[in-house]
């Protein structure tokens, strides 16, 4: 992949400003102001911000759908309007904006043709992409007859038809059901593994947190904060330990150890399952029972999008749906790589704790088939769940029950 020579930068904006004017050339709105972005190769970059913050405008300038009022944009070191640059970009707009009179097959064929793909290659990719987004059975239905979710899926497929080096996604999961959203996130992870650059604009923070390496937060057209998720989210002054459920004695012992080390317990809680995992589990059960022909089922990741050419396509959904029996984070091979920002347990502290407390025994080996421990859920806002603390310390039993 050839990118900007210095620092492997794929997308660079310098002093980017976009002012929309009315018919009389009076300033109507300044959508983006002095935006400096440097998005590196292989990075999954999230553009966050509320509605009207300038995310979509920035993406459209990167795609040369809009021209900057001031400032400079380069993509792969070239102008974004250069067709050679566009040949390396995949774009999924905020809505799928696809021709309603074409069917899915024709839609992908059309966009494949625009990339100058030979017929055979086009057909191969179309088949794989339709399979991947679960629309093989609806390949000959017109897009106009699709539901919004199905349109998003085919929109995603068209964005991937050229196996892009840079994938630009504007509100990608809007209109997608959790199943598709999960698959989509896995896909981004897969592309990231292959060194592809992804720019994702969203106001759904959970989506961004799951997949992005780095985020920029826009508000009123200006970049307010930027950095890796680890830098932005980690709270160095706090430590979180996740273990099997502790009985009262062990809990008390842990507290004593912490007290001896002059450390205050802020929060003790039982991690909760994510709603997404719950949903996936329920749908999985329903699907296995009904095997409905009508329902939209997603398939394997298109072979040409996988990391290694000889890698066998994975049944993403099967894997995904098998996992919810156990909490998502504890599987041997998570479908998406753990984001670098995620708060990880400090193994040094655990060892220290276990060594100091005689009552505390090492965790026994996990028997075959036993659900692995639940995934740690970072305490995002630092609030303290008093019920759990009271339960652990035995103070709140009488009051709460």
């Amino acid at each position: 992949m050839s990118a900007d020579k210095d620092n492997d930068i794929v997308v660079r904006t310098a002093g980017l400003t976009k002012v929309f004017r009315d018919f009389w050339l009076r300033e109507k709105v300044a959508a983006v102001r002095n935006l400096d972005l440097n998005i590196r190769a292989g990075e999954v970059y999230g553009l966050l911000g509320p509605n009207g913050s300038g995310k979509s405008t920035t993406l459209k300038i990167i795609l040369s759908l809009l021209y900057p009022t001031r400032g400079r944009v380069t993509v792969f070191g070239k102008s974004p309007s250069d067709v050679r640059t566009k040949a390396r970009i995949g774009f999924l707009p905020e809505e799928s904006y696809l021709y309603p009179f074409l069917d899915a097959n024709e839609t992908l064929d059309y966009y494949g043709r625009l990339f100058g793909q030979p017929r055979r290659e086009r057909k191969r990719r179309i088949g794989m992409l339709l399979d991947m987004v679960g629309l093989t059975g609806s390949a000959y239905r017109r897009i106009g007859e699709y539901s919004k979710g199905m349109q998003r899926r085919i929109g995603m497929a068209q964005a991937l038809i050229n196996d892009p080096d840079l994938l630009i996604l504007d509100e990608p999961t809007s209109g997608m059901d959790p199943l598709a959203a999960r698959q989509f996130k896995d896909l981004i992870a897969e592309l990231s593994r292959r060194g592809k650059t992804v720019i994702l604009s969203s106001h759904l923070l959970a989506d961004t947190e799951d997949v992005c390496d780095r985020v920029g937060i826009l508000f009123a057209g200006q970049l307010r904060s930027e950095g890796t998720l680890e830098d932005l989210l980690s709270r160095a002054s706090l430590t979180q330990i996740v273990t099997e459920r502790l009985d009262e004695a062990t809990s008390a012992a842990v507290r004593r150890v912490l007290a001896q080390a002059n450390k205050q317990v802020i929060s003790v809680e039982s991690p909760k399952d994510k709603l997404e995992a719950l949903f996936l589990r329920i749908v999985r059960k329903a699907q296995t029972r009904l095997q409905s022909a009508d329902s939209v089922k997603t398939g394997e990741v298109a072979e040409f999008l996988l990391a290694a050419p000889d890698q066998t396509p994975r049944k993403v959904i099967e894997e995904l749906l098998a996992r919810p029996e156990a909490p998502a984070a504890a599987t041997d091979q998570p479908p998406s790589p753990a984001p670098p920002s995620r708060v990880k347990p400090d193994s040094g502290v655990i060892t220290e704790l276990l060594a100091k407390d005689e009552k505390a025994k090492p965790t026994p080996a996990q028997p075959e088939g036993t659900p692995p421990p639940p995934r740690p859920t970072p305490q995002k806002d630092g609030s303290v769940d008093r019920n759990v603390i009271d339960e652990l310390t035995g103070h709140g039993d009488s009051e709460d029950r």
């Binding site: 707009p93 904006y97 929109g155």
Partner: protein
């Protein structure tokens, strides 16, 4: 090229799946089939075919023009309005490729629709051709003998299912006569008297006339006006044929044809001069001076209507000349003949080839309208684009009428408004094509040959002689070069691309 084809293909699919095509198909079927089977014209077979060709080609052309305007406009503006352009423009597709691809897609659809329509028209025309004429019907019923010539059938075969070139007579050479008469006039009255009287007649004021007479420049101008008036007088005298007198007209550039070759046709219009006669008796003599072959044609025609008769191909000389004599046999009535109203028509091609060329002329209009729709569609909304292109269509259709209506008056000083309307219309005509220059419908109805040269002119460049005066007094002042509709189409597409290239495809979000 692949990209252009991809957009063309997609545009074609989009057009083909639009409901308007279904509506168009139904309308076309109703128009063509309805006209073909219902309209009878003047009752003759020839009249029926003429009516059918006139209505079906006109309606096809009109419907296709409207469909082209609507489809092109809706596709281009729809892409921007519905934001389909986001997905397309983010692909490696240059803006010029998009513009050209869209235009090509509409043109491709037009080609197919036009081919289907013209094919249907051809098939129906052939079907009607096979129907019996009134005389054939009577002959079949045993009411008349078939030996008599069936002029209806002859007309169908020689005037309809053919492609004939039109030849106008050679201009009268009046130079010798004019010089003789001018010399005599000067000898009789004297040059100074002639000029002085002319100026006095024009100015009215004696003193002013005398002053102007001594102005050399004005004297020259006055002399030119006298010469012009004399030439006009001589020509008028030639055009006026007194009873028992004759006039000879020569046509050149015809194709020598074998004796059994297709018949030629003389088409003419006779105007009684200061007479109320309704039927004019005349005698025509067509002569081949080389072989001595003569075809006499006695005629009785209604006044002020176009009449015609057939001419034996043996009348044409080896070098392509045809001499036609007209003898006035109308007692007591002077006949005025305008040379422009007499023409010889000769078959130079087939009906099928002419139909294809007529189709190409219609296609050219459609190509231009599609380009105009692209030009406006890349920066205007659907209703405004549609209205603008409809206006262009209307003005181009009515350009001949508008041009005449806004011509500067020659007998009085034009008013400021007349100047304004004249130059405004002239400016608009410079930018817009004239759809009526060569009418595909008229050509088919008249069986008039559309030469490839005309197609080239219409597609690329039209040369027109610019000048002043009219009729025989036309004086060429130079060559006026007009861009053909093909060039205008390219120009419209180029301007459209230049606008689209700088256009932002997204707004505030």
């Amino acid at each position: 090229m692949r990209n252009i084809w991809a957009v063309t293909r997609e545009t074609f699919l989009q057009c083909a799946r639009t409901r308007i095509i279904v509506v168009f198909g139904i309308l076309l079927a109703v128009c063509v089939l309805g006209v073909g089977f219902k309209m009878t014209g003047d009752g003759t077979l020839k009249g029926r075919i003429q009516t059918f060709l006139a209505y079906s080609t006109s309606l096809t052309q009109l419907l296709l023009c409207l469909v082209t305007i609507f489809l092109t406009t809706s596709i281009i503006t729809g892409d921007i309005r519905h934001k389909y352009i986001f997905t397309v423009a983010s692909k490696p597709l240059a803006r010029w490729q998009y513009v050209l691809g869209r235009w090509c897609g509409v043109v491709l659809l037009n080609v197919l629709l036009l081919a289907a329509a013209m094919g249907t028209i051809y098939a129906l025309a052939q079907h009607i051709r096979k129907q019996p004429t009134q005389m054939e019907q009577k002959a079949a019923a045993g009411l008349v003998q078939q030996r008599r010539p069936d002029f209806d059938r002859l007309g169908v075969e020689n005037e309809m299912f053919t492609a004939r070139a039109t030849y106008l007579p050679e201009p009268f050479n009046i130079d010798r006569l004019f010089q003789y008469r001018m010399k005599r006039l000067i000898e009789e009255r004297g040059e100074d008297t002639l000029i002085r009287n002319h100026i006095r007649k024009r100015v009215g004021d004696e003193t002013e006339a005398e002053r102007l007479f001594h102005n050399v420049e004005f004297r020259q101008k006055a002399m030119a006006e006298i010469e012009f008036a004399l030439r006009e007088q001589i020509l008028d005298e030639i055009k006026l044929i007194r009873p028992g007198k004759a006039i000879g007209l020569t046509f050149t550039g015809l194709k020598p044809a074998p004796a059994d070759g297709p018949l030629l046709q003389v088409r003419y219009k006779l105007n009684p001069f200061k007479s109320h006669a309704t039927i004019l008796h005349s005698f025509w003599k067509i002569e081949n001076p080389r072989t001595g072959f003569v075809q006499p044609v006695p005629r009785s025609d209604s006044t002020k209507t176009t009449s015609s008769f057939m001419v034996d191909p043996r009348c044409v000389t080896d070098d392509g000349r045809l001499t036609v004599f007209y003898i006035n046999r109308q007692p007591g009535t002077i006949i005025k003949i305008e040379p422009e109203e007499i023409a010889v028509l000769q078959r130079v091609g087939g009906f099928e080839g002419n139909l294809i060329r007529a189709g190409l002329l219609i296609l050219l209009k459609l190509m231009f309208l599609a380009a105009a729709a692209v030009l406006f569609g890349v920066f205007l909304s659907f209703p405004i684009t549609c209205l603008s292109v409809m206006m262009i269509f209307t003005i181009s259709m009515m350009s001949g009428f508008l041009h005449d209506a806004t011509r500067l008056p020659q007998d009085a000083d034009p008013s400021a408004f007349e100047y304004f309307s004249h130059y405004l219309v002239k400016g608009v005509f410079t930018a817009l094509p004239t759809f009526s220059t060569t009418s595909a419908t008229d050509s088919l109805v008249d069986g008039a040959y559309i030469p490839p040269r005309t197609l080239i002119r219409e597609y690329l460049i039209t040369f027109k002689q610019a000048g002043t005066g009219s009729g025989r007094f036309w004086q060429t002042t130079g060559l006026e070069i007009q861009a053909g509709m093909g060039l205008r189409t390219i120009l419209a597409l180029t301007v459209g691309w230049l606008i689209f290239r700088r256009r932002e495809l997204a707004g505030v979000t």
